[in-house]
C-alpha cells in the first residue's frame, strides 16, 4: 500500500494538492462527477484512494455524489466530493441534508465563471454567496478559500478538521486559477499534520442519542452498522433524532445548528493580515485575487502609499469583528473579487459607513491587473485628501 502522506516537495496543481490534503488527513471516500475545473481532484482521488485503502466511486450525477458522501460519512468514513458551479447548484439540496443531519464531509467548489455553463475553463469567484445561502431554509455554513496549491493542501486538512469538529459539510471555495495553477507544495511529515476526528459516543448503545449535546452544541456521532440503532432524518428532529414537527423543536434545532457556528466564530475564522500594521488602506480579498493584491501593494509601496491586505481564509462565517476593527485603523477599504459584488456587500454591512469602501469587481474569465487595484487605492487616497 502506498503512503497516504506524500511527505516532500511536489510541483503540482491546486486540484492535486487538494486531493493530497484530503488523503493526508484521512479522507477515504470520494464520490465524484467530473466537471471542469474540478475534475483533477476526482482524478487524483481515483488514482490515490485505492493505494491507501480508500474507495473512489463515480456517481451518476452530483445529486448522487453529495448523497453518497453523506451516507459514507455515516458509515464512519471521512468523505469528500468536488465540483464547480453547475454541480454545486445541484448539490445544494443535499448539502442541506448534511446541515440538518449534522454530517461531516467536505465539498470542494473549484469556481469557474458563471452563471450557468458560462466560461467552463476560466476562473470566477461568483459562488461566494451561493455557498452561504444556496440551500433552502436558514442555516450557517463554513467555507474556506485558499490562494495557492500549498494553501489548498493546508486548507483541505483544516476543512476536514472543522467538519469533524463541528459536524457539518465544510465547503472549500477555490477557483479555476488556483485549481489549475502548479507550484511547489511542501507536504510535511505525517506526524506534523494535526488531525481532528469526530467525537464518538461513549455510554451505552441503547441510550445513544445522535443529537444530544453538551455546551459545545456538537453531539458524538455513531457509525451506522455498529448497533446503536439510531435514527437520522432530514425532518425537524429532537435530540433522539426523531422527527418532531413543531415550531418549538424547530427553534431548538435550528438555533443549535446555527449557534454551533456562531458561538465558535473565533475558532473557525481564519484570516491573514498582510502589511496592515500602520497601513492607511486595506484591501479585503481572498483566493487568487490575493496574489494580484500582493503585487499591487508592493507597487503602491514604491509610490509611498501604505496599503495592506486582509486576506480572508474563512469566508463563512464572515470575519465581521475583524472588519470592524480594521475600520478603526484605516482611511479606506477596497474590496477585490471576481464577481460583481458579494463579499463587498458583507463588508459594507460591517463597515456601516465608518470609512469609504470601494469595490473592484470582475465578471470572470480572467484575473485583475495590479494597476486596476492601484488606481482605486489612489482614488481612495485622493478622496481622503479632499
Amino acid at each position: 500500500m502506498s503512503k497516504s502522506v506524500l511527505t516532500g516537495q511536489h510541483f503540482v496543481n491546486g486540484d492535486v494538492a487538494c486531493a493530497e490534503g484530503a488523503i493526508a488527513c484521512g479522507c477515504r471516500f470520494f464520490a465524484g462527477y467530473p466537471i471542469t475545473p474540478a475534475t483533477e481532484v476526482a482524478e487524483r482521488m481515483a488514482e490515490r484512494l485505492p493505494q491507501v485503502g480508500g474507495v473512489y466511486i463515480q456517481m451518476e450525477d452530483e445529486l448522487a455524489s453529495m448523497a453518497a458522501i453523506l451516507g459514507a460519512s455515516w458509515g464512519g468514513m471521512k468523505a469528500m466530493t468536488s465540483t464547480s458551479g453547475p454541480g454545486f447548484s445541484l448539490m445544494m439540496e443535499n448539502i442541506g441534508l448534511g446541515i440538518i443531519t449534522e454530517t461531516p464531509c467536505v465539498v470542494v467548489n473549484v469556481q469557474r465563471a458563471g452563471p450557468s455553463t458560462g466560461l467552463p475553463t476560466l476562473c470566477g469567484q461568483g459562488d461566494i454567496m451561493q455557498a452561504r445561502w444556496g440551500s433552502h431554509g436558514h442555516y450557517e455554513i463554513i467555507a474556506l478559500s485558499p490562494g495557492s496549491p500549498q494553501e489548498i493542501f493546508d486548507i483541505t486538512i483544516l476543512a476536514f478538521n472543522l467538519s469533524e469538529k463541528y459536524r457539518l459539510p465544510v465547503i472549500i471555495l477555490t477557483d479555476e486559477i488556483v485549481g489549475h495553477m502548479s507550484e511547489k507544495v511542501v507536504i510535511p511529515d505525517e506526524k506534523e499534520i494535526e488531525i481532528v476526528n469526530r467525537k464518538t459516543p461513549e455510554g451505552s448503545k441503547e441510550n445513544y442519542m445522535p443529537y444530544m449535546t453538551g455546551d459545545d452544541l456538537v453531539a458524538p456521532m455513531a457509525k451506522a452498522g455498529d448497533g446503536y440503532r439510531f435514527h437520522i432524518t432530514g425532518l425537524t428532529h429532537d435530540s433522539r433524532g426523531y422527527p418532531v414537527l413543531t415550531p418549538e423543536v424547530q427553534k431548538e434545532m435550528v438555533y443549535k445548528i446555527v449557534n454551533k457556528i456562531r458561538k465558535n466564530r473565533k475558532d473557525i475564522i481564519y484570516f491573514e493580515e498582510i502589511e496592515l500594521e500602520g497601513a492607511d488602506f486595506a484591501i479585503i480579498t481572498y483566493g487568487i485575487s490575493v496574489r494580484v493584491a500582493l503585487k499591487a501593494v508592493q507597487m503602491l509601496k514604491n509610490d509611498g502609499i501604505k496599503c495592506g491586505i486582509l486576506k480572508l481564509i474563512t469566508i463563512w462565517p464572515f470575519a465581521e469583528e475583524k472588519i470592524i476593527e480594521i475600520c478603526e485603523r484605516v482611511k479606506g477599504i477596497l474590496v477585490v473579487e471576481i464577481n460583481l459584488g458579494q463579499i463587498f456587500l458583507e463588508v459594507k454591512r460591517c463597515v456601516e459607513g465608518r470609512v469609504p469602501v470601494k469595490f473592484l469587481g470582475h465578471a470572470g474569465g480572467a484575473v485583475f491587473k495590479p494597476v486596476e487595484i492601484i488606481r482605486l487605492i489612489k482614488e481612495l487616497s485622493e478622496d481622503g485628501k479632499n
Binding site: 464520490a31 448522487a64 451516507g71 458509515g75 468523505a79 452498522g225 448497533g227 439510531f230 435514527h231 432530514g234
Partner: protein
C-alpha cells in the same frame, strides 16, 4: 411514551413512534410489517441491517424501524445507501421507499444502482401515486387513472418497473401485492441473501388518494381488488409482467440470477475491497 414490550415485532419497531402516520388500511403498513418479519426471519445479526428511505408516506418506514435508519431526501435514498454500503460493506442495506421517490425523482439512481449491481434490497411501494403530497400523478400512474393532477384522467403511460430495473441490471426482481403477505415476506428474505441489487415492487393501496379518486372503494375492497386481479407468474420475463388495473396484475418472482456484484468486480480489479470483509 413508555415502551410496550409486548408489541408484535416490538424488537424492530420504534414503539415510541407508533402509531405511525399511515392511513387506515394503507398498504404500506402491510409491506413494512413483512419487511420487519423478514429481518427477524433471516439468520443475519440484526445490528448489521441498515434501513434507508427517501421522502413520502412509504419513506417514513425508516423512522419506525428500530435499526440504524435514515430518512434522507426525496429521491436520494439509493445514492445515500450506496455511500453507506461502501463504507460498511458487511452491512445489510434495505431501501424502503415509494414509487415516486424511487422511480420519479429517484429514477436515475435506481437504474444506476441496478447497473452497478451493488448489494442492497430495494422495496418499492407502488401505490400508483404520490401519497404523501395528496395523490398526484407519477411515472407509475396507469393511463387514464385519476389523480389530483390528472383530474380528467392520466394521459401518460406508466413504467413497467420490473422491466426497467431488469434492463438496468438487477439480479433479483419480484412483484407482489400488499396482501401477498407471506410471499412478500419470502421474497424479502430471499433478496436479503442475494449478492447484488434486488428489487421488490409491492402493489399497494393508497385508499386515501388513489383509491378515492378512482372509486376503488374502502381499503379492504381495494386490497382485495388488487389481490383478485393478480396472477402469479414466476420467472416470466419482466417485459410480460403486465400491470393493468382494468385487467390483471402479473405478480411473482421474475428474476433471480447471479452476476458479479459491485464488490466482486471491484475485487477483480483491485484484489480486495477496503474495510470489512463482505460475506
Amino acid at each position: 411514551m413508555e415502551k410496550i414490550e409486548i408489541s408484535p415485532l416490538g424488537n424492530l419497531l420504534r414503539e415510541d413512534r407508533i402509531p405511525h402516520i399511515w392511513c387506515s388500511g394503507c398498504g404500506i403498513g402491510l409491506a413494512f410489517s413483512a419487511c420487519l418479519r423478514a429481518i427477524n426471519g433471516s439468520s443475519i445479526e440484526q445490528d448489521r441491517f441498515i434501513i434507508i428511505s427517501g421522502i413520502g408516506c412509504s419513506g417514513r418506514a425508516a423512522g419506525y424501524t428500530y435499526l440504524d435508519s435514515f430518512h434522507t431526501t426525496h429521491g436520494r435514498a439509493i445514492p445515500f445507501a450506496t455511500g453507506i454500503k461502501i463504507a460498511r460493506p458487511s452491512s445489510k442495506v434495505i431501501v424502503f421507499s415509494g414509487d415516486g421517490d424511487l422511480v420519479a425523482i429517484g429514477g436515475n439512481h435506481l437504474i444506476n444502482a441496478a447497473r452497478r449491481n451493488i448489494e442492497m434490497v430495494v422495496i418499492c411501494i407502488n401505490n400508483f401515486n404520490y401519497g404523501m403530497t395528496g395523490g398526484q400523478e407519477g411515472p407509475s400512474t396507469p393511463f387514464k387513472s385519476r389523480t389530483t393532477t390528472t383530474p380528467y384522467g392520466n394521459f401518460e403511460s406508466p413504467f413497467n418497473i420490473p422491466y426497467l430495473v431488469e434492463s438496468a441490471g438487477a439480479i433479483y426482481i419480484a412483484r407482489w401485492t400488499a396482501l401477498h403477505v407471506r410471499r412478500l415476506f419470502k421474497s424479502i428474505l430471499e433478496a436479503i441473501n442475494k449478492k447484488g441489487f434486488s428489487f421488490i415492487e409491492v402493489i399497494s393501496a393508497c385508499p386515501t388518494s388513489f383509491g378515492r379518486k378512482n372509486k376503488l372503494g374502502n381499503p379492504l375492497e381495494m386490497l382485495k381488488f388488487f389481490h383478485k386481479i393478480s396472477v402469479i407468474q414466476n420467472n416470466i420475463h419482466t417485459r410480460k409482467a403486465h400491470l393493468d388495473l382494468s385487467n390483471e396484475i402479473v405478480v411473482g418472482k421474475f428474476v433471480d440470477i447471479e452476476r458479479p456484484d459491485f464488490f466482486e468486480q471491484y475485487k477483480e480489479i483491485f484484489g480486495s475491497f477496503p474495510g470489512e470483509e463482505v460475506d
